[in-house]
Symmetry: C2
Subunit: 417 residues, 2 copies
């Protein structure tokens, strides 16, 4: 196939990189030789500063400071310090976000907290196409409370049709993990609250991908992970946000000693902390938190408006190039075409998506596959260049045009796909 | 005061070190210059091997391997691999222990799992003097299930008097965090099960301090932490054990995607894994897990019978020396005198315990204080020498005899005491 003459050429793409206000940020990350990494929406690459942070945490704080570091190195308040750093990225004023536990655990806390704010109601609304752990945790909460789960796409086609006066809480993804569809946070929050329900936003695919304005949208609760766009490291602890107006009333059953008003008074009964710390539970993995902190220090300097602008530029370009070069090979856009309603990722459906992605990975273009047929490419604006977009589209075209993906090696599935 | 001539002298103590079969293990840890570290029962020191493990995890697995490391570096099954390594130390055959989340979270899972095995019952029995987070989590479980909490020391003087046919689950510490009292695991397990209840053992102060035999005692469930005697690093993830005979039936509401039979099939509904992985929930902090693994590799080589023998030797000696040198200064043994019912720690009560401990810490003898009046000393046999016991007792005598603890600097409390 010859490339349409209307598509941007390499020179045009390189000119965009030269004009990119974020271009210097790429040097802050380790990106392996020969790899175009389009999976930062699954596991972000390592900020170089994380290595020194880990070394200090291990050699100085742990090995030399020992137990004293809980006070002297500030371990005790890391959950809050890091929470406030994430706060700037998600539009949370200080004292409303803490880093702790996993996304799944925080969903559990948030849903129970929502019920504690809305005790007379008995229904959880969620998306049938949600990232599954949200639904699994909602099942767990429903089981312990005798509540009912209503799913978009199962109980009604649209989320909003499910929200009535029985609904205690709506759990919704800001950006869909598979398609990249971005919801209107302010509008859905208003609609939910107008029905007397509480909203919980899952920011796993938006925190660090675009500006988020939780306070501005009067959101009730939010949760998210730190190992994707926020580059916190594999399995880095997650975060949870609760608007200050709710702190005094909200309760959650993972009422561990870290959420206690006086954890070191060793009282027999639970008394929650007055503020956001009541959403903490147990002792957090400090080494992993220090790696995350190195990344958040870097994020402190990032202009989120420029980030979003580049994100739309990268994803628009990828759609344009792939559709221009590959549409005859059975790939079909599975993400919103309009940048305004799209996260920082682009997905295409292909009936043999799994094998296609394996062939891409073998050629150094790392995206991922999401069942049943989606190949997914994340474009993290801090380190992905327009040039990378161009090269990735070219490799995808080659894999499809040559049928390279038919190699039987690419059919075998591994544990994590 | 002159020392009683019957107390062991320095030469006698050093002879015991020379004959110690574990003496070479001390070199595997970093122990800061000028410190006698008797707080390994709160935060274990760093095994030297942890540094290289962290470096490989960060530089190679994360930075170079990126998302591929979930398969290629075995991240996906670390929860199980590490669980089985801990298994050897707690008498758990393979496939019954996983490393995940925090102690508090695992207590929550275990208590709910116990109710799922015993659905007709409505009471949780625990110790009023328990480490508080156990009670706080039990409160959380009781609140979500409408269950009732009965406490030893509140509702009856002895735990066994509380166990009747309403009791679903008994949550009990193998070794008490404050006094070091060790319970008879086999006997209490039998007694509990004879009443039709399920037992959950908290091993926070016994895993890595002595041989534990969960399978041998037919225990139902157990949980514990890895950052104390197991030297996993600050806030290292905790573990949970469930006997294989229960796997098929037990359910717990923290039903996140990692506990799903097919996490990467992205199914809409939760289907628990057939085995111990149903006690997993979300993605774990890999960097912290790698530090823990370095320590567990070291633990693989330890003879637990020799460990226990030395533990009793160290703690017996400390009691003998402190009572011989310090009893006139108001310290009173707050631990069992009989080594057979004592964990690897010794506690003394002193009305000004907080200040006494601060004075000790200022002199390089690091133990800790537990409200209201306990000074607590942990003796981890892998790196504590008989000589350290002798020196610590001597410093304690000096602090008490000179009244050095009265210095006003030692009265100020910090966040973590």
């Amino acid at each position: 196939m010859t490339q349409s003459s209307k598509l941007p050429d390499l020179a045009a793409v390189e000119a965009r990189d030269a004009a990119d206000p974020l271009r210097s940020k790429r040097d802050l990350f380790v990106l392996p030789e020969g790899v175009i990494y389009l999976d930062g929406n699954s596991l972000g690459p390592a900020p170089k500063a994380a290595f020194a942070a880990l070394e200090t945490a291990a050699h100085q704080e742990w090995a030399q400071g020992l137990i004293r570091s809980w006070n002297s190195a500030g371990w005790f308040t890391l959950t809050d310090t890091l929470g406030d750093q994430i706060g700037r990225l998600i539009g949370s004023g200080p004292g409303q976000t803490v880093v702790s536990d996993t996304t799944s655990i925080n969903i559990y806390k948030a849903l129970h907290a929502a019920f504690s704010l809305n005790p007379g109601r008995s229904v959880i609304v969620a998306e049938g196409s949600s990232f599954p752990t949200d639904l699994y945790m909602a099942e767990g909460v429903a089981a312990t409370r005798g509540a009912k789960l209503r799913l978009e796409g199962v109980d009604a086609p649209g989320l909003e049709e499910l929200i009535d006066d029985k609904v205690a809480v709506v759990l919704v993804n800001h950006v869909d993990y598979r398609s990249g569809l971005m919801r209107d946070m302010a509008a859905l929050t208003r609609k939910t609250q107008a029905a007397g329900a509480v909203i919980v936003w899952d920011l796993c695919h938006s925190a660090g991908a675009m500006p988020v304005d939780l306070d501005g949208a009067s959101v009730d609760l939010a949760i998210g992970c730190t190992y994707k766009y926020l580059n916190g490291g594999p399995g880095a602890p997650a975060f949870i946000y609760a608007a200050k107006r709710h702190h005094e009333k909200l309760m959650q059953p993972l009422s561990g000693w870290w959420g206690h008003a006086k954890p070191f008074a060793f009282e027999q009964g639970y008394r929650p902390d007055a503020g956001i710390r009541r959403l903490l539970c147990g002792t957090q993995p400090i080494l992993s938190l220090r790696a995350l902190q190195a990344s958040l220090d870097l994020w402190d300097t990032i202009d989120l408006v420029a980030l979003r602008q580049k994100s739309i530029g990268l994803t628009d370009l990828f759609i344009e190039l792939v559709e221009g070069m590959c549409s005859e090979y059975g790939v079909k856009l599975a993400s919103p075409r309009d940048g305004k309603t799209r996260g920082s990722q682009v997905s295409f459906a292909h009936p043999e998506g799994y094998a296609v992605m394996q062939a891409l990975i073998a050629r150094g273009v790392i995206g991922d596959f999401r069942a049943p047929d989606v190949i997914r490419f994340g474009f993290a604006p801090l380190y992905i260049r327009y040039r990378d977009v161009y090269d990735a589209a070219t490799v995808l075209r080659d894999v499809l045009a040559t049928g390279a993906w038919r190699d039987p090696r690419y059919a075998t599935r591994s544990a994590v796909t």
